[in-house]
């Protein structure tokens, strides 16, 4: 198909409208992001890294999000595979349920978690004797991050698995592979990019989480909570260094995700119909 060129011809009002709207959206998104990244250049990044509480908070945030992602991987990838391969009663409901945290206001998600995992909550009381407490602890941070970010890993992995023709597994099994062997040797190697992209997205979402975390654990402070506290207590200037830092980390994650998922979108051997 020949691509329509816009230059050298009269542009129709319809396309003009689309382009104008596009420019507005791009500028709207780009300005704050650029302002933060410019801040990083202007020495705010160095300033942030010299401050003890920011450094501690960064390590806490990044590692809590990492633990969250590992837990999410172990629990979410099998579920994603199940959803990609099997039909079962209530499957649509399960898929919907997985995505519910995306539409929850995150503070409400925090409240919901507190009613279940708080000291008075049913799971909270069950887990307390094992030494697992979720208020004002790292475990609480991980719990909040997990709840709001799991959909990204599950959805991303499910799509990646669904793109791999199931008949590859059939062939592998006739060649002597067990069910797990077929998954590990044939399906996962074809789907790993999508799974990893989902995991990175989950990690990034965990790092940037505020609402749910702040309800369960104001302390120890993750970087979004620290930013908020500084802004409330000391104003914009004091809040900028941690904010710049977290935006930069999030931006790096984002670039990684794009790099992983952009090329070779259709990798499985079957052509689309």
């Amino acid at each position: 198909m020949r691509r329509r060129r816009m230059s050298g011809r009269r542009i129709s009002p319809f396309w003009a409208l689309c382009v104008a709207a596009g420019i507005l959206v791009v500028v709207f998104v780009a300005m704050p992001a650029a302002s933060m990244l410019a801040g990083a250049g202007a020495g705010l990044l160095g300033e942030a890294l010299r401050q003890d509480d920011v450094r501690r908070s960064l390590v806490l945030t990044v590692s809590a999000a990492l633990i969250t992602t590992v837990i999410g991987f172990v629990a979410g990838v099998p579920l994603a595979y199940l959803l990609a391969r099997k039909e079962f009663p209530g499957k649509r409901a399960v898929e919907g349920l997985i995505d519910v945290p995306i539409v929850f206001p995150h503070t409400a998600a925090g409240i919901a978690l507190l009613t279940v995992y708080g000291r008075q909550g049913i799971a909270g009381r069950l887990l307390a004797p094992l030494g697992l407490e979720f208020t004002e602890t790292v475990a609480g941070i991980v719990l909040a991050m997990l709840f709001v970010s799991l959909p990204f890993l599950v959805d991303g992995s499910r799509e990646a698995f669904a793109l791999v023709d199931e008949r590859y597994e059939h062939v592998a099994r006739t060649l002597g592979s067990s069910r797990f062997g077929a998954f590990a040797r044939v399906t996962f190697p074809q789907a790993w990019r999508g799974v990893l992209a989902g995991a990175l997205l989950m990690w990034g979402r965990g790092i940037s989480e505020f609402g749910a975390v702040v309800i369960l654990a104001y302390n120890p402070k993750v970087i979004s909570v620290l930013t908020f506290e500084r802004f409330e207590g000391f104003g914009l200037r004091a809040a900028q260094p941690p904010a710049v830092l977290i935006v930069l980390v999030a931006f790096l994650v984002f670039v990684l995700v794009r790099a992983l998922s952009a090329p070779r979108r259709r990798r499985s051997g079957t052509e689309p119909p």
């Binding site: 590859y168 006739t174 060649l175 069910r179 074809q190 051997g269």
Partner: protein
């Protein structure tokens, strides 16, 4: 040996079988039928990637119906090869090879690649191979796992016509050399006749006929098989009360048959068995040409007897007779070329 008895497969409300089929070692059986007839379901059930609803599938004396696919030792090759895209050709072939040290395995991979004609492609990735090359690699991969039977699901459909013949030779040779029972599924009757020791015709989930290709072609078991195999002239007729070897066609005209007819019958005449000659006023069957369609080196001639009748005539013959729409011609069919089925 593969022996299917009473095998039933149900998928999406569609039932295939119960099916009985026996494939001896070294025999090449083609399961032939239109798309949607349930052919692939049968293969999948034998390979174990789909559950059989009932019946037995015995391979080398063992009923494999309850076994997982990895313990059935059945090679499965799909239409599009389904080579693992993340592995090289060599790694694809070695995927299922059993036991042996690294060196032995490599040797076997090379031997198999040689046998199927892909020795020069071992380091390549599947994406860079042609359809025919992929199928050869898929075949080598299946053989490397030392299967006890080979199941091929439309293995030639995605292969260029030029590459097809070579691949057919490889398939036949492998089946014979390894003395493997082979079930090859296709909807293409030409492919079936070219390859099969035996054809099994599956239509609408039911096995209509099993037999040598020539027998199935010349003596179809029923009208559905006849039509599917390209016998375009399937006509209702009744016996002439004065001569029991003359069939009066329901739409007019008559044909002489080799054997005595039942009272009511269905006549099957292949278009290539219909002979045309210049019309003469001697009372033989005449017809009007209503359409000419070029098909390769032949022309399909639609005639009105007044019953519709199709003849497949060499292009040279069309020119010699000066066939054109509207021309009257004499039509004849050898009595031995009229296949009679009971009406029903």
């Amino acid at each position: 040996m593969i022996e299917l008895s009473g095998l039933e497969v149900v998928a999406g409300g569609f039932q295939t079988g119960p099916l009985d089929l026996r494939v001896d070692d070294g025999r090449y059986v083609v399961l032939l039928g239109p798309s949607g007839a349930g052919k692939s379901l049968v293969l999948e059930a034998v390979a174990g990637v789909r559950r059989a609803a009932a019946g037995r599938a015995v391979i080398e004396g063992v009923d494999v119906v309850g076994l997982p696919p990895e313990r059935r030792r059945v090679g499965l090759v799909f239409q599009d090869g389904l080579l693992f895209p993340h592995l090289t050709v060599a790694a694809n072939i070695a995927f299922g090879s059993r036991g042996g040290r690294g060196g032995e395995r490599r040797g076997e991979v090379e031997r198999l690649a040689e046998k199927v004609g892909v020795a020069g492609l071992l380091t390549r990735r599947p994406a860079s191979l042609s359809g025919g090359e992929r199928q050869r690699v898929a075949l080598a991969r299946a053989l490397a796992a030392h299967p006890r039977a080979l199941l091929l699901d439309e293995p030639l459909s995605a292969v260029d016509p030029e590459a097809r013949e070579g691949l057919q030779d490889v398939l036949r040779r492998v089946c014979r050399e390894r003395r493997l029972p082979v079930v090859h599924v296709t909807h293409d009757r030409h492919e079936a006749f070219a390859l099969a020791d035996e054809c099994a015709v599956l239509i609408d989930g039911r096995l209509h006929q099993t037999g040598r290709p020539l027998d199935v072609l010349r003596r179809p078991a029923d009208a559905a098989v006849a039509r599917f195999l390209g016998a375009r002239n399937v006509m209702r007729a009744r016996r002439d009360p004065r001569d029991h070897r003359v069939a009066l066609l329901a739409d007019g005209g008559s044909l002489r048959t080799a054997d005595e007819l039942p009272g009511e019958a269905v006549l099957v005449v292949r278009p290539e068995d219909v002979r045309l000659a210049p019309a003469t006023p001697d009372g033989s069957l005449t017809a009007t040409v209503t359409r000419l369609t070029l098909q390769g080196g032949h022309v399909l001639v639609r005639l009105e007897v007044p019953a519709a009748l199709d003849a497949l005539v060499p292009a040279a013959e069309v020119e010699r007779l000066g066939l054109a729409v509207g021309l009257r011609v004499a039509v004849s069919v050898r009595p031995t070329d009229v296949h009679v089925l009971p009406a029903g």
